[in-house]
């Protein structure tokens, strides 16, 4: 040990001479941690310096000790060591006050030590209270004191509470008049913990409340003082609310305070008071609230009825709900005849609201009375019951004012009564009643709704009635006869001509009826609807598919209809209607595994079979539709193409939802064997024709069936294995490079991209093959290729790039470079630029999240960073105007898809010259997109744009007269308007010029431009006022 103490003395000497560094301190700490030496040896070694007459050297010595202690793990020191250290350090607190900050550092580290004994903890606390005059410390030191108290209170709560009243008294002294928000945040948490841990408050309740509540309501706004702060106003508000709402003991002080602040004129103070009271209600009960009930209600009533802010209204209503909920839990004296507290409070509410509801004028107070009624009814079962029986008869009477005497206000009064009725009915759905309060009025309500639904001509009223039926259905109190009557009424509505909003409402309530009462729908609604299916009926059928039983029937009906129609020009509309309706069924959210599996076997397979059969039949020359026969070739307008696409979309929706299981495997197996082996037997198709979808020279109708590959194999869950994937991929590549039918090679490229993305490992060979192939064709006679052939290659490059970009694939740059290269091509350059849009735009068909594609986070940002340098250097070296325009178009797509974020803003200075250059083009599409980008820039990076403001405004003003395109004019003017969001001081100099310039645009020949101009001009007029 002697050797160690020598060493320690050397260490101390070195450090205090200024040669110590962090490494040595860590080294020392490690030795203490490994028991090679003791902390007390260090203290002894420091001895002479600690007793030095020079304060500064005492501080240095304490600092060294503190630095070492801070590096020690929490469980390193044992109880005795800690005890001696605590005693030693607390004695140092008595030393010169400049030592205190350093000592507090050590105490803070020690306070969280695992082996600290309770008595030492209390000693630390009492020493601090005694020796440190907290109010006169710096913010940092005060924070340390609060942190020490916090840690000790957490770990030694029982020992600390043993100090009792004295602790609380001192604590209140210490936190009194704290002003720093950082410290306040800690104090609020500390006080809340203290109370939550059950620390007795003795006779100091009011003092503790005062010392915290003096900050209420908090209005902390560092931004106005130009300071940045990590603490927000809401942090402080919530922390303080935690303290105020922590104990019912505060109630006698808290409620009057909150009521007083509620009377203030400041909106934020009002809202804070309301929210705090709502929070307090959680721990308050009858004892706390009884005396204040009428005061609270009076204030609330005032706020709700007279407030000018929707926020106050909203918060007041939710306070009312909590209050009524609270009252509902008050103890009830079973024996006494007196009405309960709850019911007399509800009576107060009703007394206020009922006259307003009765009043023949429909104004804001009627409207608010409705809100008050709902907010109270929502609170509890008893409240709901009482309110329903009091208000419902009134509302029912109001719904039919017309008969008693028509006044001018009658329709709106009726409507608001009906509205309230529906809302009240849906509130009832929140509770389970023994005897339902609506039961008594149900028949009458049903009649009222039915009358409106069948007789009214006001769509808005009918919408409310439909919503009313939905509420009644949800309550489950309708009898079978009523359900049947409702079903028939809905049928009538569905078959009549309705506006789209009402139609949507009718559909959703029919769907609800079907989900809750499939029996009624099957027996009474479906038979009428299935009777004669036409295009307009199909969406109503889809709307009913909210129950498995109903869905099975509907699927059969629709599939039968499809199977019965051959594809040609005349059957187009009905087939499309059928497929759209199937798509909406397959895309609904409620479908579970059972339903989806049923659809895989009974919808996907038959539909595939139907399409393949149809294409086989049509691919015989002269058998296809009129569009095809005319050119004696299969045209792009062939009637079968849109049908195939819609069918693929239906199938995709099912495939996306399939879980990896037996039926899924079956579907994949059948599909692959159909395509890879041309095996028509897999689908039980009997024909004497050959099916060769992978032969580039086969009939385009056959190669176009490749659209089913992105919809099946590429849409399924990643865990579903595809047999013979490699074979499939190489056949697809062959089509991509050799098939001249445009839709076919696009489908093939999408399918291939989908597979490369999802099955990355298995796709390495095909990617290598493609790489070599592309390298050769770009270097040998590419320029002499016809445009059509170039387009084929371009399509493939775009889709493969997309597959790689979204998965952050390491080979991305290779393919993207090809894409960039093609920007300079005279034939397909413009399409290549548009390709950047395809790469980043979410496609519905393939490579999307719902198709389980591998999509990495931030891929857009990575892509941007990857190509930005390439684009910039290419732009600088390019001399061809068209090429430059293509590059800018690509860039604008890139920026358009990028989330407006730091990445973009960092490159702002690189990008701006390019964008300004782009403003010189005559291409409307490019101009539009550049202006759009600039518009976003101005909104997001006000500071960066300021140096360029003058030149940009000149450009915008020039483009506001761009005669060739109205959208460019409108967008340019919008940019001028958006400039008003910049700091007033920077834009004020332009006000006069801009305002007078915009005058001409006010008389533009297009209304859109005029609208933007008047918007912008009005905003500019307001600049600086």
């Amino acid at each position: 040990t002697f050797r160690y103490s020598i060493k320690m003395e050397e260490f101390v000497k070195e450090c205090l001479n200024g040669d110590g560094d962090n490494k040595k301190i860590i080294n020392c700490a490690t030795r203490i941690e490994n028991q090679e030496c003791k902390i007390l040896t260090l203290v002894q070694a420091l001895g002479p310096h600690l007793t030095s007459a020079d304060t500064q050297s005492r501080i240095e010595a304490c600092k060294l000790l503190s630095n070492v202690i801070q590096k020690l793990p929490k469980d390193c020191l044992n109880q005795q060591e800690l005890a001696s250290l605590v005693e030693f350090l607390c004695n140092r607190l008595k030393d010169h006050y400049t030592l205190q900050p350093v000592v507090l550092d050590s105490l803070l580290s020690i306070s969280s030590a695992t082996n600290l004994a309770g008595e030492n903890a209390t000693f630390i606390i009492s020493s601090i209270f005694k020796e440190v005059h907290v109010q006169s410390c710096m913010q940092n030191e005060r924070l340390k004191v609060f942190q020490i108290l916090g840690t000790l209170l957490d770990a030694h709560s029982t020992t600390v509470s043993a100090i009792g009243r004295d602790f609380l008294y001192q604590y209140i002294q210490v936190i009194d008049s704290e002003q720093d928000p950082r410290n306040l945040l800690v104090i609020f948490q500390l006080t809340k913990n203290l109370i939550d841990n059950g620390f007795p408050l003795y006779d100091l309740t009011e003092e503790l409340f005062e010392v915290s509540s003096c900050y209420f309501p908090i209005d902390f706004n560092p931004a106005t003082a130009g300071k940045k702060s990590t603490i927000t106003n809401s942090d402080l508000v919530i922390a303080l609310r935690g303290v105020l709402a922590s104990t019912p003991d505060f109630a006698p002080y808290c409620i009057p305070l909150l009521m007083e602040k509620l009377d203030s004129d400041v909106e934020s103070a009002k809202i804070d008071s309301i929210e705090t009271l709502t929070a307090c209600l959680i721990c308050y009960g009858k004892n706390e609230l009884e005396t204040y009930l009428s005061t609270i209600w009076t204030s609330l009533k005032r706020e709700i009825n007279q407030s000018t802010s929707e926020d106050i209204e909203k918060h007041s209503l939710s306070l009312l709900t909590s209050l009524v909920t609270n009252l509902s839990n008050w103890p009830v004296d079973q024996k006494s005849d007196k009405t309960t507290d709850l019911s007399s409070f509800i009576n107060d509410i009703l007394e206020d609201c009922v006259p307003k509801i009765k009043s023949p004028v429909n104004d804001r107070s009627t409207w608010m009375a409705g809100h008050i009624i709902h907010a109270s009814a929502k609170a509890s079962k008893q409240a709901c019951s009482q309110i329903v029986s009091a208000v419902l008869p009134l509302l029912l009477r109001n719904t039919s004012v017309k008969e008693t005497g028509a006044t001018l206000a009658a329709p709106s009064l009726e409507q608001s009564a009906l509205d309230n009725l529906v809302k009240l009915a849906s509130v009832c759905g929140l509770f389970v009643f023994d005897t339902h309060p609506l039961e008594k009025y149900k028949a009458e309500i049903f009649k009222v709704f039915m009358k409106i639904l069948t007789e009214s001509e006001n769509d808005q009223m009918r919408c409310i009635a439909v919503a009313g039926f939905a509420a009644l259905l949800k309550l489950g109190i309708l009898t079978n006869d009523e359900l049947v009557e409702l079903a028939l009424a809905l049928y009538k509505l569905m078959t009549s001509d309705l506006n789209s909003h009402l139609r949507g409402e009718v559909f959703s309530v029919s769907g609800f009826l079907s989900a809750e009462n499939p029996g009624v729908v099957k027996a009474h609604l479906l038979p009428c609807m299935v009777n004669d299916i036409n295009e307009s009926r199909l969406d109503s059928l889809a709307a009913l598919c909210t129950h498995f039983d109903v869905m099975k029937i509907v699927l059969n009906v629709i599939m039968d209809k499809i199977k019965g129609s051959k594809i040609n020009e005349s059957t187009g509309p009905i087939l499309h209607a059928c497929l759209n309706s199937l798509e909406s069924i397959a895309s609904s959210r409620w479908l579970g595994n059972v339903e989806i599996e049923h659809m895989a076997l009974n919808l996907v397979l038959p539909l595939l079979k139907y399409c393949i059969e149809a294409t086989l039949e049509l691919s015989v020359p002269q058998h296809c539709c009129a569009n095809c026969n005319r050119d004696e070739n299969f045209s792009l307008e062939c009637a079968s193409l849109p049908i195939l696409k819609s069918a693929a979309s239906v199938i995709r929706h099912v495939a996306q939802k399939l879980k990896p299981n037996k039926s899924t495997e079956l579907v994949v197996k059948l599909v692959t064997s159909l395509y890879v082996h041309d095996d028509l037997g897999a689908f039980d198709i009997k024909t004497n024709q050959e099916f060769t979808p992978f032969n580039p020279c086969a009939s385009p109708l056959q190669t176009r069936t490749l659209c089913f590959l992105p919809a099946t194999v590429c849409a399924m869950h990643g865990a579903v294995q595809v047999p013979e994937l490699v074979e499939l991929e190489s056949k697809l590549l062959n089509i991509c490079l050799n098939c001249r039918d445009q839709p076919s090679y696009v489908f093939a490229a999408k399918a291939l991209a989908g597979m490369i993305n999802k099955f990355q490992k298995q796709s390495v060979p095909i990617l290598d093959k493609l790489k070599t192939h592309l390298a050769t064709i770009f270097h040998t006679g590419w320029d002499t290729w016809p445009s059509d052939d170039k387009m084929m290659v371009l399509t493939l490059v775009i889709w493969v790039s997309k597959a790689l970009v979204i998965s952050n694939h390491p080979e991305t740059l290779v393919f993207v470079k090809h894409l960039l290269f093609m920007l300079g091509d005279s034939g397909v350059g413009a399409v290549a630029a548009a390709g950047f849009d395809i790469v980043l735009r979410e496609s519905k068909e393939v490579l999307c999240t719902s198709s389980h594609a591998v999509i990495k986070l931030m891929h857009k940002q990575r892509f941007f960073l990857l190509v930005m340098p390439e684009i910039l250097s290419m732009f600088k070296s390019s001399v061809d105007g068209k090429h430059k325009a293509n590059i800018l178009t690509a860039l604008s797509h890139l920026i358009g898809h990028l989330p407006k974020q730091v990445v973009l803003m960092q490159h702002f200075n690189d990008l701006l010259p390019l964008l300004v250059q782009a403003l010189h083009t005559e291409d409307p599409a490019l101009l539009k997109s550049v202006l759009f980008t600039l518009c976003c820039f101005i909104q997001d990076s006000s500071e960066a744009i300021l140096p360029h403001l003058e030149s940009l405004l000149k450009h915008f003003q020039r483009l506001s007269k761009f005669q060739n395109n109205m959208a460019v004019r409108a967008k340019a003017i919008e940019c001028i308007g958006v400039v008003t969001l910049l700091p007033t001081i920077d834009i004020l100099p332009y006000k006069k010029e801009v305002v007078s310039h915009l005058m001409a645009a006010l008389d533009d020949r297009k209304r859109d431009v005029r609208t933007e101009a008047s918007k912008a001009r009005s905003e500019w007029y307001l600049v600086g006022t």
């Binding site: 802010s309 804001r364 005058m999 020949r1005 297009k1006 101009a1013």
Partner: protein
Amino acid sequence: MEKDNLNPLVHLRVTPRTRIKGQEELDNDVRDPFDRREIFDLIRDINDPEHPLTLEDLRVVNENDIDVDDDQNLIKVMFTPTIPHCSMATLIGLAIRVRLLRSLPPRFKVEVEIAPGTHQSEKAVNKQLSDKERVAAALENNHLLNVVNQCLTVKGSTYGTAV
């Protein structure tokens, strides 16, 4: 300040917010004539001076009370105060006038008047509003201009959320 009408009727918005565009409106070469809907869109969002509501909500302005003659360069707007003794009628009229002054090409002659029979001092107010010099003088008054500007400030900024 005590409000004239503490509890005004709030009405449903009759005119839809978005205007459905016709084919010719999308054609850059066809001239779209000024019509009453366009004028209504300009003034519907003006704030009422004493309630947090717009002139449309209070039915102070209606699409049907606007007459537009694009060829003769004439526009006439009639507005209906919420109550016959509304002291804010002149201010509302002024706000409408200023908005139109700022948003319409100068070729138009704009008349802003109280709908007949809806205000007790209808004539006096109309006279004030039609007197160009009095309007100009009113706008020289900074306090009044501020109140008007407040009425014309669209809630929640025209251009989305400011930074």
